[in-house]
Symmetry: C2
Subunit: 259 residues, 2 copies
């Protein structure tokens, strides 16, 4: 299928998951002008304070949103997975208030700001879908405030792992019963407001308790239900369509141990 190999097909799939788009809408997305780039880990998609003229769509690979404090500490705000548009805020806001950097090697399709902006108002269904995506992103960030503000280290890490698993699953990116964590323990620490030393100890603890199993950076879930409990995780804030708060068929398939 040519659609599956179109660089924006992942993004389109995400839109479709949230809003019914007719053929014209779908074509409008696929006919957006774009330029593809290959990027190395650590390279910037957006710099804080910059004024991006295009919106990057992650074709493959992973990225993260990040802010630095005055004394050089890093806080990771969000993880971007393939199919995510990383500059939706910058379509309507001028100067970027945070940076986006590649976590792994990957591919990005840059779409001009104006093209997307125009679609939002000329095609209400696309507009609604894009607005929903930005709102869901905001919802995830709110949950991260809770995670970092009111949960202890073990809960935080369990929660982040659960969230990542469910998001990957919703895009069909889970392999078997787990995934390869695309980040170092130090980056996981920056996402959870901890130190890498402590992250290491907590991961070992989770493993010792049979809540996860690890090999290299691959994480598997021998007891998915228990991990969710430890992480105080409930998927509702992800606003994944077609799931009532219980698990989807696919999730049931790929995450056994779920009643």
């Amino acid at each position: 299928m040519t659609t599956d190999t179109h660089p924006l097909s992942g993004f389109l799939g995400d839109l479709i998951a949230h809003e019914r788009l007719n053929e014209d809408d779908r074509n409008a997305i696929l006919e957006l002008p774009f330029r593809v780039r290959k990027l190395d880990p650590g390279s910037y998609l957006v710099r804080e304070g910059s004024l991006p003229a295009q919106c990057g769509v992650l074709v493959d690979g992973y990225a993260y949103r990040q802010k630095m404090t005055g004394d050089g500490a890093r806080q990771i705000i969000a993880i971007c997975i393939p199919g995510d548009a990383v500059d939706l805020q910058n379509i309507f806001l001028d100067i970027s208030d945070h940076a986006v950097q590649m976590l792994t090697r990957g591919t990005v399709a840059d779409v001009p700001r104006e093209s997307l902006q125009q679609l939002v108002f000329t095609r209400p269904h696309i507009g609604r879908a894009i607005i929903q995506l930005t709102l869901i992103e905001a919802s995830i960030v709110r949950e991260w405030v809770v995670n970092v503000g009111r949960r202890d280290a073990r809960e935080r890490i369990a929660h982040v792992l659960c969230e990542f698993a469910v998001r990957l699953e919703s895009r069909g990116l889970m392999s078997f019963n787990g995934f390869e964590l695309p980040m170092t323990q130090e980056q996981l620490a920056d996402a959870t407001g901890l130190t890498s030393v402590h992250v290491n100890r907590v991961l070992k603890g989770l493993e010792a308790d049979g809540l996860i199993s690890r090999w290299r950076r691959h994480i598997h879930f021998p007891d998915w239900r228990a991990l969710q409990d430890v992480g105080d995780f409930s998927r509702t804030y992800l606003h994944i369509p077609g799931e009532d708060g219980g698990a989807s068929q696919t999730l049931r398939r790929s995450l056994p141990g779920l009643a």
Copy 2:
């Protein structure tokens, strides 16, 4: 002036600050249907899991966004000030992922979801303005992740105070050189991921160091510049229009000690 007494005039002012609206646009906002309610502290504007049919606009008084963890801890996600629309996410997303509660006694104007939704797509300037407001809200939440994840107690509280001061100032709600903090120390703790005991000690510390002065819940800023430094505060993430990152004229007036 009749405009100033219209319940939605604060909201309109906020929109205008971000996007040029012509007379038709402005009238469209002021002619929105609404119903006014008076609310007591603690009463809910939105419950987590609910499906709001209207968008509340804070006319006066303060509110907060909040989520609870499984073991009953509360995390405050955002503070809403007069003029804020508290349900913008719920215009396009169905089930609410967090609760909104009154902090003080206050007044809310409820606008039907559909009316606002329609304006977004029929009046692109209003649409852009509303999208910008939701994006700025998201930007503030991102900064809160940084605050709670990577700053110590003193920095966190200083930062929250600075943010609150600047946001109030941008709406003309600062009195003299300070404001009345509309929340208890316990609520401030829930906003910063601390305990009320520790918040109390930190406030006293800030006061002892001449960074703030307190009388009841009134906070003043004897050394605004120093407080910003302690809080690692920079206003850029608030995306307040017409300010280059330096201070506005009004701010200069109302917050002396600013070079």
